[in-house]
Amino acid sequence: MANVIAAIEALADVIIAKKEFLTELDAAIGDADHGINMARGFEAVRAKLAAANPEDIGGVLKLVGMTLISTVGGASGPLYGTAFMRAAVVTQGKAILDAATIAQMLSAAIGGIKDRGKAVRGEKTMLDALEPAYEAFIQAMDKGESLSKSLQAATKAAADGVEYTKTIIATKGRASYLGERSIGHQDAGATSTYLMLSALTAFAQEQSQAV
């Protein structure tokens, strides 16, 4: 359990560290709050985790999801909130975060985001980072790569996804108000997804080296 909580703390660290960057990205084509929203959410997550004692990974992720839902405030609140809640369902009763579990979590998270936001890939959202990341992760796993390497591949795919969001028009969320003018800017939500994946990857790497 401890390492799952530590992983979540790693996500919180990067989001809080990149608060201003994420807000600036959102300022260009949205309402200048994505970093503020996400940092508020993860500050609350930190506080909740410190106070609670979840029994399994599902418990940790449910706490994260519920906390994000009630503290983030923007579209990313119900979206990431639903993602973590769905990931919680597939990790109920689990205590160890192995590659197969991570794959299930990512898949459940994507399903949650799609159900909630009704977006598909190519609409300039977090899905443009998360879906390719999931696919790269699965592919690497299938090739027999280590968890750490597979996460690296996922993070790389997410980074490419963020780049890709610069080239497309936003058709979901606030950036869609700008229509064609949203081209040239990277999506804030895709960026926060990438940042969380990269933090998870770095965390997994440390863990694997420590072992």
Partner: protein
């Protein structure tokens, strides 16, 4: 009477709309604002919306009015978090939040059922201002 929940990113907006609609409504009409975050920040919070829906429901169902895209996401999430029975009695209107709430408050106040109240709210899109 159908209860009404007004979900806005802004607490001021949600409260103000409830005040305006309340002027047109009968005394017992539930008009519950669910605006902003618990700490006063701009945003929406599905759990606050959920609590507002429960408060607004007197058994005849609840109309949920929303302002911008992400309020819809939070409102839909709130419905998913609700008891199945209450969930089936709640509807999110695809309607302009202020104009729809005022029109819906009149319809709800005269005892119209949820389907009609939703229709009235959504019909407010066609109200001409000049």
């Amino acid at each position: 009477m159908v209860g009404i929940v007004v979900v806005s990113h802004s607490a001021k907006v949600a409260e103000g709309i409830c005040e305006l609609a309340g002027q047109m409504a009968s005394a017992g009409q539930k008009l519950i604002p669910a605006g902003g975050m618990a700490d006063g920040a701009i945003g929406t919070d599905a759990y606050r919306i959920l609590a507002a829906i429960e408060e607004a429901n007197t058994g005849d169902g609840v109309l949920v009015m929303v302002d911008l895209g992400s309020a819809v996401l939070s409102a839909e999430l709130a419905l998913d978090l609700l008891d199945e029975t209450v969930k089936n009695q709640a509807a999110i209107a695809d309607a302009p939040i202020l104009e729809g709430t005022v029109a819906a408050a009149v319809a709800a106040s005269i005892g119209q059922p949820l389907v009609s109240v939703v229709q009235t709210a959504e019909g407010a899109r066609e109200l001409r201002k000049r």
